[in-house]
Subunit: 212 residues, 2 copies
């Protein structure tokens, strides 16, 4: 990896951290300059604009979650196992990349035009994938009053994406505990009397995920 690419990544990572700390719109290029020890003008050797920084953070991050998810879902047929993989994948990546994921969740509307559309399309694809898994899970059960699929999908994302408001990856609660609790909470609620105990989700080492 070239010197240019290394510095480019370092700037992206630092920008993500600051965006997460004080939000995109109240972070100035001068803040990023200060934190990276790159001069204000020098930053523009590595990005076209402040908005492109935000886009690259969001798009890289999303790409990695999606790519990893598709790898891990390959060949798996059982819907409940798929759901378990989906949740574990999302949460463990989230926990290992809190800044980027906070920016992805919190600054969705800070992009405009084509950049917004690009990320938005990816997000829709991801959402539809979750919805499809939930539909499959629901069809394996027969309930008198099934939970509305839209509510269930967004409730799941709500649970998972809200964690940047409270979760400390370095605290007592381990990522695996977080995942299994969310999994139990959601799956038991979504399909009462479901077979949560039949789960065997392959978990991954954090080093695969983390930037550092």
């Amino acid at each position: 990896m070239s010197r240019y690419d290394q510095k480019h990544e370092f700037i992206l990572r630092t920008a993500a951290r600051i965006f997460a700390e004080k939000s995109y719109h109240s972070t100035s290029m001068r803040d990023i300059s200060r934190a990276t020890n790159v001069s204000l003008a020098g930053l523009y050797h590595y990005c076209k604009s402040k908005e492109e920084l935000l886009f690259l953070i969001q798009d890289n991050c999303f790409g990695r979650v999606l790519e990893r998810l598709e790898q891990r879902l390959g060949g798996v047929a059982d819907p409940i196992t798929k759901l378990g993989i989906f949740i574990e994948n999302h949460l463990s990546f989230f926990a290992a990349n809190m800044s980027e994921m906070k920016v992805l969740s919190h600054e969705a509307e800070s992009l405009g035009g084509d950049l917004y559309n690009h990320v938005s399309t990816r997000k829709d694809k991801y959402t539809q994938l979750a919805r499809q898994i939930l539909r499959e899970v629901q069809e394996t059960q027969q309930s008198q009053e099934p939970i509305d699929l839209t509510v269930a999908t967004y409730a799941l994302f709500g649970m998972m994406n809200w964690i940047y408001n409270w979760y400390d990856p370095h605290g007592k609660l381990k990522v695996s505990d977080l995942s299994s609790n969310v999994m139990k909470l959601f799956l038991n609620g979504f399909v009462p009397n479901g077979m949560c105990s039949s789960l065997a989700i392959p978990s991954e080492s954090p080093s695969v995920w983390s930037h550092g």
Copy 2:
């Protein structure tokens, strides 16, 4: 209500709408001036600063949720009924005041100093109240592996507060459907084999809640 108070409220409501649309930091006082037909300087007759606008929106909004909740919880002893009231209260207020609640959820960290502390204290109180209800619910059951209380509390808030990202109060899904689905989803997940059907939550007319 005096002429001053009416206009003051109108400015707050309009500001909340614009803050929700394009975020606090990228909304200018000139935007609010344009939307309210009050001159830029004239706005400062009704607020001390832009930050005070944000504070008043958040604090008023929170005050109304809390006040209403305490009224409705008065005299209720059954933990599961309390949980139902809590969820219905939160969601129906949210749905009737989407802009304000989005600002409350999304711009929490945009306040600084004492203003932030004030809102934050209220938020903690609200969170602790939810946590206490969940603890009571959990104590009425005995489960082998109970769900972590912290995860459950924030998962519930995640589900509920995420709705500003997708829910359309004027769409097909009624608020009562949203509430009952979230209630079923969460309660079944939190206490499997719980007695969800025993619920009788008094619902309120939207006119009690809505600004307009």
